[in-house]
Symmetry: C3
Subunit: 264 residues, 3 copies
């Protein structure tokens, strides 16, 4: 029930979601936001980043093609978002693959409240201090349990941690959810991870319980993926279909029952 309500809220309020993101999937992030019913804006110059955040309802940061000037703008925008009390989502793309990315994430976590920290198992494990291989932007072998590490990290940071994968995992210091939705087709196409962070941004813009909002976002996104996969198994066709399912999904025809499950 609540998931559907959040979806309706997004479509009524049309929150502006400011992105400072990467150049590979910047279009996908913008269109995902538009498809779900919110308004995207991309602005990364340090001269205007904070001001754009100031008129927005959520901030989504993505380090997929990070540079030092981009990182500076991310700090300025995150600071403004914190002052304004709007959610900050950080998609830690490639954290653990190079020192620059790992340090950038640490730097952002140290200097701002990152309300939702999202990554794949390798990225989150690496941030949490486990030995984890990250091949470019892909998760490799991990020493230890990513979910336990995420829960420790959420406690330490007082925020929400999201691990995306076959089954998504969302936790804060009080609770944890498994999100049982999605399709393996989502792993065959570039951009699905980045779009997930954007959709999380849109949901957090309308719901202060960021852990639940993140789980709801992933539930809706995963269901849209399932619908798209029912129509095609060709990756690019699937991707465009996924975006169009995001536009059409209303949470009514699609049952959300059993998708978000409280877990340890």
């Amino acid at each position: 029930m609540k998931t559907e309500e959040l979806l309706l809220k997004i479509r009524e309020q049309k929150p502006l979601v400011h992105h400072i993101t990467n150049w590979v999937t910047i279009y996908d992030c913008a269109q995902a936001i538009r498809s779900i019913g919110a308004l995207p804006v991309m602005a990364h110059a340090e001269e205007e980043a904070a001001e754009m955040t100031g008129i927005s309802s959520a901030l989504v940061l993505n380090i997929g093609t990070l540079t030092t000037p981009l990182l500076k703008s991310m700090h300025l925008s995150a600071k403004r978002a914190n002052e304004k009390g709007i959610p900050v989502v950080l998609d830690a793309v490639g954290a653990g693959a190079t020192p620059m990315r790992s340090e950038a994430v640490k730097d952002l976590l140290d200097n701002s409240k990152i309300d939702v920290l999202k990554g794949n198992a390798g990225e989150i494990s690496s941030i949490a201090g486990l030995q984890a291989e990250v091949r470019g932007v892909e998760s490799g072998t991990i020493q230890g349990d990513p979910r336990s590490a995420a829960k420790e990290l959420a406690k330490k940071l007082g925020n929400t941690i999201v691990i995306t994968g076959k089954e998504d995992f969302v936790c804060n210091q009080e609770k944890a959810y498994a999100v049982k939705a999605g399709h393996e087709m989502m792993g065959k196409v570039v951009g699905t991870g980045c779009m997930a962070a954007s959709i999380i941004g849109a949901f957090c813009a309308v719901e202060k319980d960021y852990a639940f909002a993140s789980a709801a976002a992933l539930a809706v996104y995963g269901k849209a993926g399932e619908k798209a996969a029912a129509k095609t198994k060709r990756p690019m066709e699937f991707k465009h279909c996924l975006m169009d399912e995001l536009n059409e999904i209303d949470g009514k025809g699609t049952t959300m029952e059993g998708v978000i499950v409280a877990t340890d």
Copy 2:
């Protein structure tokens, strides 16, 4: 009749259209140019921007993800375009949303001849000095009449002003057109506004009456949108269909009668 002739001219001459544009829709702008039958080139380094303009037939500037280095290259390219006598189209994406964007537009208008200034109602109103809300890159509430303001601005600048919307409006100091084409689907997908500016650039490359060329561009673009919308109501599918209709449209099977209407 004349609209169809311009379309033929583009396909015969294949003008090179130089863009300094944003990272969200840079692909869409390039492909829109290719689909309409012209040649795109994107080059934004200050070391080569003016030289690339020097071998081109039109220059399209778009401030969607503006930075200070990009703005510098825009100035260099606009100057060269003015010297060479080729049209400069400026898509004032987000003007009014932040001071940086508003000042960049003012700066470009002060230092170069911007032959065609294009925006949505909020952006143009804001540039013309009305109180206008711009939510990121979306038009919000406006105090006053955008069309009157555009006509005043065209007189002051001695150029062509384009306001895109449900019905597009084009004016210079002597005349004004309403363009009655397009489909609401064009508002559901990211990139249609940016592509409109690119198409205007291609038409202005082959016709010195920039007001008519802009109206003709929007007529053809709007008709392509209608054709695409007749095939699908799914946003991403629609967008790709729109690009393919641009490739196929010949202005013969499609009547352009009554699309471009002289107005006050």
Copy 3:
């Protein structure tokens, strides 16, 4: 036979292919790599470029929207790739169109081993010292024979040269291939040239005979283009279809016989 084996090797080894590329087709390059079965990573900051190359199996450089900082990162990454012994592919987009691009290519060739230098006839001719017109990123009129010039250049540089076109041409100092595959639809859509370079990168990651690997890449890519063109003649639909054919092609159902032909 060997072409199919390379395709299998890519899908088994999933080599990481690092790109420093342009902003127009950056998504297409990433997805082409994913579709063929390898892993893409895009990283252009000078602080991490060489490190990302250090964990990769091939490096693809593309100067389509070159800037001075990007060029610096390309040098750092090419140097690391040379030290590591992994292949470096350079797509010389727009070489000959502006001095900046021509000089950047010269600079890269002078300071690193560029294992595969790829361009259209105009770009390669211009690099080889012929009088050649390059209209933005399109090949224009050329004084002389591009293939002879390419063979001279390959001898001088001790590397592989690729000229893409209606029939692709690949040579090193010992041999030359004509690749008889592809479809004119590939020329109607932005991004096909850039994707070709990415696919070459993936093949060179698994085969040290870079001339044959390049020819095999173009053979598979061309065949995928033919399959896509058999399904649609609409440019954007074709492009997405091409990417999906890259995902499906196995070199078994598709005969590769007669596609790669030894030539003078």
